[in-house]
């Protein structure tokens, strides 16, 4: 084992505990762990809000001719005499997508876990810029408030889709939404700033503050994924922010960046949006891939299969992710020859995703699989991400995309990646790191109930959408019953809606388990999963400053079932095999 070498001596850097006021400790905290937990509560709240919007959409799609139960509590501008209005439906479509992407999934992946894990897994006391970190959280709060408030202003919330295609998004006279569209852009600018501050922090910390012995290729895959994600966000978010400000000017100051009557170009918006938007897709999946790699190794009691291939796959995805944006625009009127080059880059980016999938399977192969709740979510991530990846091939093949573009096939695809992928990985991550965050275990029994109900209902909701797409059901339509070619699908739509209601209810099983366990869960030991990475070598939860003495790292991140270690099947990154099992020295 040539990799097991100490690269630097340990250094004692005692961290002074000083008394802090409640406000500094829990509210305006600069401790990365508290900030992560703040992000967790905020994003779980928005996950529930985003889901609720989807439930209203599903009701409308399934029963467009029936009033929505309980619709009376909403104002007449949203639900008139019991019926969801088309303009409110457009707001639901737009804000469901926007909230899920920008206020739920992205900050949960990055805000929660980059904050929580980077210092702990790298073996350092805190982030490089703790105060920036605090700002990054507190910028999300006004963004969230503005977003929610926009539902209640005259004209309602933004209704031009989360992709904000101009001219629709730029001209209030064409959407009927005036303030709502502006408020969403202002919120987006806050979110962009938050993300940029966070990214600077994650990148700096990863480059400069690794514990002695923590070389690049000893970093856990979670850190690799979060580090590369931060680079993507740092390069992509400013483009969105700039484009958003240009759109804001078109809306309010009378400029014409995206309006043809003043000399502007509607396609310019799409190019700018997707130049951000496609890296964003990988921002939303790379961290999930990192968590899954970690959980699969721990649950399989095996090192990650092909660790270096996994790292290079992440790097390749990040690089290629910047040159595939045009595949969202095959039908946009962009020069068809340009479409060709985007087909090539898009098919290329599928290769590293395939590599990762096979390596996850390789990790499980001949393992000793512990099927606890985090592991079940991680395995189903692989199963569902595979479906989302494979359905993407249909879109990359441009002639097929002519037919399925802007149909429910796309809705199915994106939810297999974003829900079956990112959110399943996040549930796994929440169960997995919960004991470290809160010092207690979540209930395994209820975790498994949550997993199985979610898994079954999830597939009942999203798998049939491939069928709807094949039939040709367009996205974002308020009522599909007026089309001859869509006559045979109303029963499918009703099935999906019923399953979707069930899926939403499973969230309550999770919420109950989550909150109950914070107060009443079984006390967690330091290392309940017998895991190898550094965060498990601290108390649960770790104290302010994480370590009395910075750990020294001797080997790679996932040393499970090492043949030289006799009395246990794991070797922490700061443990030496010759110390743990003296017999190893003779090898």
């Amino acid at each position: 084992m040539a990799t097991i070498v100490a690269e630097a001596p340990g250094q004692a850097t005692g961290h002074a505990e000083h008394e802090q006021s409640f406000l500094r400790k829990y509210i305006f905290s600069s401790d990365h762990k508290i900030i992560a937990i703040q992000f967790l509560f905020l994003t779980l709240f928005f996950l529930a809000v985003g889901g609720l919007l989807a439930m209203m959409m599903r009701y409308q799609i399934a029963w467009p001719d029936q009033p929505i139960p309980g619709g009376g509590i909403l104002p007449e501008s949203m639900v008139a005499s019991g019926y969801i209005l088309p303009e409110f439906y457009n707001a639901l479509v737009t804000m469901h997508g926007s909230i899920m992407v920008f206020l739920a999934i992205m900050p949960m992946l990055v805000g929660v876990y980059a904050n929580y894990l980077i210092p702990l897994q790298l073996g350092t006391h805190d982030m490089a810029f703790p105060r920036l970190n605090m700002y990054s959280f507190w910028l999300m709060v006004p963004a969230g408030i503005i977003t929610l408030a926009s539902f209640w202003v005259i004209g309602g919330a933004a209704g031009a889709g989360w992709t904000l295609y101009a001219p629709l998004s730029a001209r209030p006279d064409l959407t009927g939404v005036e303030l709502g569209q502006v408020m969403w852009l202002v919120a987006l600018i806050f979110i962009g700033l938050s993300s940029i501050l966070g990214s600077v922090n994650y990148i700096t910390t990863t480059i400069n503050m690794r514990a002695p012995g923590m070389t690049w290729f000893r970093m856990p895959l979670t850190i690799w994924a979060l580090f590369i994600t931060a680079i993507l966000a740092l390069l992509a978010m400013p483009v969105l922010s700039a484009a958003g400000i240009m759109l804001l000017f078109d809306q309010t100051l009378g400029t014409s960046f995206f309006l043809p009557e003043g000399g502007g170009q509607p396609l310019l918006w799409q190019h700018l949006f997707w130049f951000f938007g496609h890296p964003e897709v990988y921002i939303l999946i790379l961290p999930a891939m990192g968590f899954v790699s970690e959980i699969l190794a721990t649950g399989s009691r095996k090192p990650v299969f092909g660790y270096k291939a996994m790292v290079w796959a992440i790097v390749a995805i990040a690089f290629l992710g910047f040159i595939v944006w045009g595949h969202h625009m095959f039908m946009s009127g962009m020069n068809p020859t340009l479409g060709l080059s985007f087909t090539v880059s898009t098919l290329l980016i599928a290769v590293p995703s395939a590599i990762k999938t096979f390596n996850w399977m390789g990790t499980m192969w001949r393992g000793n699989l512990k099927l606890h709740t985090p592991m079940l979510f991680a395995i189903s991530f692989v199963a569902l991400f595979a479906i989302g990846g494979l359905s993407g091939v249909f879109m990359a093949a441009t002639p097929v995309d002519i037919y399925i573009h802007d149909t429910y096939f796309i809705v199915a695809h994106l939810h297999y990646v974003l829900f079956g992928g990112s959110l399943f990985a996040l549930f796994g991550a929440i169960y997995y790191w919960f004991p470290k965050m809160f010092g207690r275990m979540m209930s395994e029994k209820w975790g498994k109930v949550h997993f199985w109900t979610t898994f079954v209902l999830y597939n009942l909701v999203f798998f049939p959408m491939h069928g709807l797409g094949m039939v040709g059901m367009m996205r974002r339509i308020y009522d599909s019953t007026g089309y001859a070619h869509l006559e045979g699908i109303q029963d499918t739509n009703q099935l999906i809606t019923v399953a979707a209601f069930g899926l939403y209810l499973t969230g309550f099983i999770f919420a109950f388990n989550f909150f109950w366990s914070i107060f009443k869960g079984k006390k967690a030991s330091r290392n309940p999963w017998d895991a190898t990475t550094l965060e498990w070598q601290t108390p649960s939860p770790p104290k302010h400053g994480n370590w009395d003495e910075v750990p020294v790292v001797y080997h790679g991140p996932h040393e499970y079932s090492h043949p030289d270690v006799l009395d246990k099947d794991w070797l922490a990154q700061n443990e030496r095999p010759d110390v743990v099992s003296p017999a190893a020295g003779s090898h």
Binding site: L347, Y403, G472
Partner: protein, 221 residues
């Protein structure tokens, strides 16, 4: 619960559907391999007491295989797609001598400009009909798409045609219906609160019937 592609009425639609099913088979095989593999591993390698996992960091040979095999499949798919795509979408490949129409989309209607009996757009016998698109079967048709307000998307499922209509642009789209029939133009791009009802009737005639229909409409203008 009928999950199928609608019947195809278009010349290149045959190849589009063929490519769809080729990809369906390829991805279907990959799907079965991955899911069956996962289930097999869960059953076979489920934790047993006293059992230790096999210690390995991977295999370069396997990495090369599962990099190269998908890459080759994608190259073949990419090359095949590229040819078909260029045939359908590239303006320089548009068929010559096609009958030409202009479609102006606006919230929430499709205005069809007919070339009139002289079959030339931009002449005095052109006429415009709202939400009714008539054209002859068995010969190529070119539609020049324009949008007056926001982006719309011109979608006729049975003809396997889709193209965004963008304000400030004039985008040619061609297709060739193999037989007569009645369909709909649907809008596939969110265009405002009436997006869901932005539909127009499509009638594909025999050539003689189309000529008669057009002559009668041209007279009525």
């Amino acid at each position: 619960m009928d999950w199928a592609l609608p019947p195809n009425y278009s010349t290149f639609g045959v190849q589009i559907d063929q490519l769809f099913w080729i990809i369906f088979v390829i991805t279907g095989i990959a799907f079965v391999l991955v899911e069956a593999g996962l289930i097999l591993f869960i059953v076979k390698y489920r934790s047993r007491t006293g059992h230790k996992a096999y210690y390995t960091h991977g295999s370069n040979k396997l990495e090369i295989i599962w990099t190269v095999v998908p890459a080759l499949v994608f190259v073949v798919l990419g090359v095949y797609s590229a040819g078909l795509w260029a045939d359908i979408k590239n303006p320089s490949n548009m068929p010559e001598g096609a009958i030409e129409f202009e479609v102006r989309a606006k919230q929430f209607e499709w205005n069809i400009v007919y070339p009139g009996p002289d079959e030339i757009l931009g002449t005095g016998d052109d006429f415009e009909v709202l939400n009714q698109f008539h054209f002859p079967a068995g010969e190529p048709v070119i539609v020049y798409l324009e949008a007056e307000d926001v982006i719309h998307s011109f979608f006729i499922p049975e003809l396997r045609v889709k193209q965004d209509a963008v304000p400030g642009m004039r985008i040619p789209v061609w297709f060739d219906a193999t037989q007569t029939g009645e369909f709909e133009i649907a809008c596939a791009e969110l265009c405002g609160l009436g997006h869901y009802r932005m539909e127009a009737a499509v009638t594909v005639h025999e050539r003689a019937d189309f000529d008669a229909w057009q002559a009668s409409r041209a007279l009525a203008q």
